[in-house]
Every structure is written in C-alpha cells, then in structure tokens.
C-alpha cells in the first residue's frame, strides 16, 4: 500500500502522534541544556523539522525492516518502539540508557527493534546500510533497509560508492536523503552542484541509473507515497531508490561546541546565527510539518482539535516522565568502561 488515501484514520492518527513524540522528545533534549545544565555531554543533534520525513518513511515499513540513519538519530527508534525513557537516559549518559551510556546522542542503538547502530561520521553509515541490504539479499530475509542521511552526506565518497554498489547488486535499500538544507553550518547552495544549477538533489540518482524523486518533506503523506513506492521496488527485488525529502531543520546543527566548564547551549539556527537571515527561518517555520499535518487531519475530520490536544498532552507527559526517569537513572559504574571492547 503506497497510496496515502488508503491510510486508515487510525494509522493517520498514529503517524501524527509519532511526529508529536519526536518533536516533544527533541524539545526536551534541547531544554535539558537550560533546565539541567551539565547533564548533557558532547554534541546532540536534533531532528525537529524532520518529523514528516522520518514518520512518512517509517510508516511504509514492514515489521522486520531495518532502519539505519546517521548520528541525528533520536527520532527513528521512538517510532520503532524503543521507550523514550531509555533513549533519554542514553543521551544523559545513564546506566539505563539503550547503550548503557556507551554511545550517547550520536550512537543510539536498539538492534532488537531493527535499529542496529549509527555512525557519527558523515556518510559512513550509508555503507553500513548497504551492507545490511547485502545481508537481507544473501539470507533472503525479505527485509528492506531504510537508510537515512542528510544533504551534506551526498558530497561524500561513501554515498557514491554505496549507491553504485547497491545498484549493481540490486540491494533492497531505500536511500532517504533528508535535505534539511544545511550541512552543519553551510547552506546547501554553497556546496551542492545540483542545487547551484537549480536542479533537485535527487538528480544524483541518475549517476547510478536508479529512480530518484524529490518530495516535499514537510508533507508527511508525500514522503509516505514516494518512500512506499521505493520500498515496494526494493521488496520486489528491483533494487535501490533515492528519495529526497526536502524540508528545513528547525534547530541549529547541534549544541554549541564549548570546552568544560563553560556550559553549552543550543544557539539560534544557522540562518539567523550565521547568515543573519531571519526571513528564511520564518518562512520555513511557517511550513512546520506537524502544524501542517494537524491542520489537515482536523480539517478533514480525521481528528478533532480536542483529540489532537489529548495526543499532545499524553506525549508531553510521556516525555516529562522520560526526563525524570533519565535524571533518576544512576550513572554507570566506571569500571564498566572496559566491557564491550570485544565480543
């Protein structure tokens, strides 16, 4: 099923709830820097703005399909069913974190829920996802691999090598290019040849003679349809596709890089902070995928305003509980550090 109109009300409401959960989770991660200074270490990257791309894509997956994104990875496991409390605990470096405090924000993992691992190095996880596609093909598991990465990754060799390999081997991988328009601090117009020529980034698919499509990533159902089609193609043994979901990251690339004991905070989005372009930010903020989807569902009677509010309240409670759970979770015992080096 790849047609959005065939989605049941129940499924649409589930999709809305997942989008709200991702947003609220990311808001709580961000607020940690002010509410609980010193709790967060290192670098956290948020997926607010990407909810349409993440949920639209993942709503097409079958239960055993694998999900392999990059380091901007908080949203996916939430949708896969990993408890928010264990994800938050990981980001807080706690014992009850999904990785026991060994990974942190950039390296969430829950292989039991088909979320094997993530890499913090741009584009390298595209190769890993391609290898997972090899496993699915060799072992004939019928799995499709959902590989997510940003626009910045499409300038890396790992992207080109992996898509070529997946194309020649017809691997069951859907490559979802989340074009949030900024690689870290650099705008896509400053570094992408297709963008400079006025072409969509999905044009890169032509280099591998595979399907490439660009959709409005702020429109969850558009993503659903395009990724659904690509997943069907993969499932039918016809090989990989590239789907570009174009949207806008609503927070900065990550928290500011500071050296302890200087506290770290989330700066303003790069459009404002680096480029001084408040109008650009405001324009995209007005296309918030959650606001748009809510209006649609309430507008067509799938959801009442009260029911939507109920979802939002429930999610707020869930994420507050996740924060409290993570804060209460003990730090790992120091000597644990030598575990897990080798199997």
């Amino acid at each position: 099923m790849t047609k959005a109109e065939a989605l049941s009300s129940e499924r649409l409401i589930w999709m809305y709830a997942q989008m709200v959960r991702i947003r609220e989770f990311e808001e709580r991660v961000k607020r940690t820097f002010t509410e609980h200074p010193g709790v967060m270490r290192g670098h956290a990257h948020l997926g607010d703005g990407a909810e349409g791309a993440i949920v639209g894509a993942l709503a097409t997956r079958a239960e055993h399909d694998l999900v392999m994104p990059s380091y901007r990875c908080h949203g996916y496991p939430l949708v896969l069913g990993t408890p928010a409390r264990n994800l938050m605990a990981e980001i807080y470096g706690r014992k009850d974190g999904v990785c026991g405090g060994f990974g942190g924000s950039m390296h969430l993992a829950d292989p039991a829920r088909h979320f094997p691992c993530t890499s913090g190095i741009i584009a390298q996880s595209i190769a890993h996802a391609t290898g997972a596609g090899l496993t699915a093909q060799v072992k004939k598991t019928g799995q499709v691999v959902y590989c997510f990465f940003g626009d910045g990754a499409t300038k890396q060799g790992g992207f080109y090598e992996s898509l070529n390999l997946a194309a020649i081997w017809k691997l069951p991988v859907v490559y979802v290019l989340e074009n949030n328009q900024y690689q870290a601090y650099t705008h896509v117009s400053l570094e992408d040849a297709n963008e400079m020529a006025g072409d969509p980034l999905s044009q890169k698919a032509q280099a591998f003679s595979i399907p490439g499509e660009t959709v409005d990533g702020t429109h969850v159902l558009e993503v659903f349809e395009a990724v659904g089609q690509a997943a069907n193609r993969a499932r039918d043994g016809k090989g990989p596709s590239l789907v570009e979901a174009k949207f806008y990251r609503l927070s900065a690339h990550g928290n500011a890089i500071t050296v302890p004991p200087v506290p770290t905070q989330f700066p303003e989005h790069e459009a404002v902070e680096v480029y001084g372009n408040k109008a650009e930010y405001a324009e995209w903020k007005s296309k918030d995928p959650i606001v748009k989807f809510r209006a649609r569902l309430v507008g067509n009677g799938t959801l009442t305003d009260a029911a939507a509010k109920q979802i939002e309240d429930r999610v707020a409670t869930e994420m507050e509980e996740a924060v409290q759970f993570a804060l209460a979770s003990p730090l790992p015992a120091p000597e644990e550090a030598v575990k897990h080096v080798c199997a």
């Binding site: 392999m68 060994f102 990974g103 090899l134 992996s162 080798c342 199997a343």
Partner: protein, 326 residues
C-alpha cells in the same frame, strides 16, 4: 593429517573450508571471481562470492553493516595501502560499533590484505601498516609467517566475533610448509616460538621471521643460541610469551619491517621494559626499516629494509652488551 602447500593455498583452503562450514560467510573484493572458472564461485555461487567495484569505503563499510546484521564477510583488499582510502571504516567504524552500542551488536568481519611487497613496488605499494591498526581497541591484527599459521589464523579470524585485519606478506606467498588438513585453528593472541634458544630472544613477524630464522642458523655456527618468537597477532599481543622468553635468554632483539618510529617493535620493547626489565642482561636492540618511504631501485630498497646481516650484527652487539648511540 598435514599436507605440504603454499602460503597462498593455505589461505584459500581456510576460506574454502569456512565457507563450506558456515553459509553466513561471504567473500568479496575487487578483481576476483571474474569468470565462471573461479573455484570459490563454482562452489558457493554468485550470492556469496562477489566482485566489487574499486570502492573500498563501500566494500569495508558494507562489510561492517553486513556483519552487524548476520553475515560474516571476508573482504579481499589485496594491499594494506588500499585500506587507507577507507580508513574511517577500518579504524573508526568496524571496531566502534559493538562498544558504542553497549555490547548489543557484533562485527564478525575479516579485512584481508597483503603487505610488505619488497620487490620494487616503491613508495605506495610496499608498506607495512600494521602499526596503525594494532592500537585500536576492538580491532584484532593477525600477521602469519608460515603456511600453517596462515590457515590457522585465517580460520580463527573468520570465526571470531570481532573485526580482524588479516595481513599476509607478499614475499611469503610461494613459501611451502606442512599445513594441517581439516579443522585447524591458531588462536588469536597466542605467540609461537619458532626456534628455541637460550642466549637471545629475537621477536619478529611475517617475512622477518624467515630472515630471523636464517640469521639464527648463522649465529648457531658461531655458538650463539637464538630463540625466535613470532607473536602471530599484534592485537591482541602475547606479551607473556615474549617476556617469558626474555626471562630465559636475558637478551632481546626486535625485528620489524616497518619504519622504526611508532613500530610494533617499539611497542613490544616498551612492554618488555615494563614487565621484563629485571631479566635483561643487555640493552634491547630494534632492527627496523629506516624512517624513509620505500624506494624503487633495488640497492636503495635493500638499504632501507632489515635483513639477515643487520639482524646478526644486532644480536652480536647485544651479546657484547653494547649500547648504540641515538
């Protein structure tokens, strides 16, 4: 039962046997299995034996992803230098996944590559790069010196649940030796005493084991009894066997084909300084390549690399308790 075979044959036997034993083992790389006549392709088919484009990041990275999800890939990389274009995958991906996931995933991956091709391959194809990989927690490095070890270590590497860089020396490929048939494992992390002796311990790897054994025969004629220890894996490193040998002989010469700076020899010397200082009767000597790139022309190449004569001279200086100036 053992059968005489070449080093290269011993490696092929290990891969063949492990692919036969375990359907999850896959084998791929560049310029391999190009025709139907390929013995691996014939036996295991196109799904498990694959030719790849010149794409090391995708080859090794796909190996990491495939290993995390249930296969046991062997990636044929031909030359250790070719890993450099994908070194992130070797150093910062494959050995990190298990740890970062808090022990949830494992990466049973073999990266197979030749090295040390001292036959006029010049600056970019003759290097010994194991020192760049032996200090990466989670990554194992195997470096066999005999056909039997070639098979046993490769079998162990394929069965290991962790990423293993398996390095075979080009100059040993045609060497023959007795290789046990059937299931034969040389455990990773166990050194082997290739020649017993009482006066001096020579620690060497790969081609340098062969040169050290030849040097030991010459020294025996002069009444010096040298023990030759081959660590066989540099990570994990069997410090215990090395220190045990030094305890017996009281003298240590380290032979390493890589340049001296940051060499495996220097690492082992450090371990012996910490754990075996009291046993030493003379200063430790390192016989390594000079700190230069590898030159093309034969006399230049010979000048740079360790050889029998240099080993013999180092042993003699150790026997005479001579220190060498910096």
């Amino acid at each position: 039962m053992a059968r005489e075979m070449m080093f290269a044959e011993a490696m092929a036997a290990a891969i063949m046997e492990e692919m036969q034993r375990d359907p999850n083992v896959v084998f791929y790389g560049q310029n391999m299995a190009m025709t139907e006549r390929d013995p691996f392709l014939k036996r295991f088919g196109k799904e498990r034996v694959r030719i790849t484009p010149i794409s090391e990041t995708a080859e090794i990275g796909a190996g990491v992803g495939a290993a995390m999800t249930g296969l046991r890939p062997i990636v044929e990389l031909y030359m250790n230098e070719f890993m450099l274009v994908a070194f992130d995958q070797v150093i910062n991906e494959a050995p990190r996944m298990r740890y970062m996931s808090g022990g949830q995933v494992k990466v049973p991956l073999v990266l197979k590559a030749g090295f040390g091709f001292a036959a006029g391959w010049a600056g970019q194809h003759s290097n010994c790069l194991y020192h760049t990989m032996m200090g990466i927690p989670g990554l194992k490095v195997a470096i066999p010196s005999t056909p039997a070890d070639a098979k046993g270590l490769l079998t162990a590497a394929i069965r290991d649940e962790n990423p293993v860089v398996y390095l075979h020396h080009y100059m040993l490929m045609l060497d023959k030796g007795n290789v046990p048939e059937g299931d034969f494992i040389v455990p990773l992390g166990v050194a082997d005493i290739k020649r017993a002796g009482t006066d001096v311990t020579i620690v060497a790897t790969a081609w340098m084991v062969k040169k050290s054994l030849a040097a030991a025969e010459e020294l025996a004629k002069e009444g010096v009894s040298a023990e030759v220890v081959d660590p066989r894996t540099l990570a994990p490193l069997d410090v215990k066997t090395i220190v045990g040998s030094v305890k017996k002989t009281g003298r240590l010469v380290l032979v390493d084909q890589a340049p001296r700076q940051s060499s495996a020899a220097a690492v082992i010397a450090g371990e012996v300084a910490e754990h075996g200082f009291g046993y030493l009767k003379a200063p430790v000597r390192m016989v390594t390549a000079l700190d230069t790139p590898i030159p093309y022309s034969e006399p230049l190449e010979r000048y740079v690399l360790p050889d029998e004569e240099k080993i013999i001279s180092a042993v003699k200086s150790v026997m005479a308790k001579q220190s060498v100036g910096v």
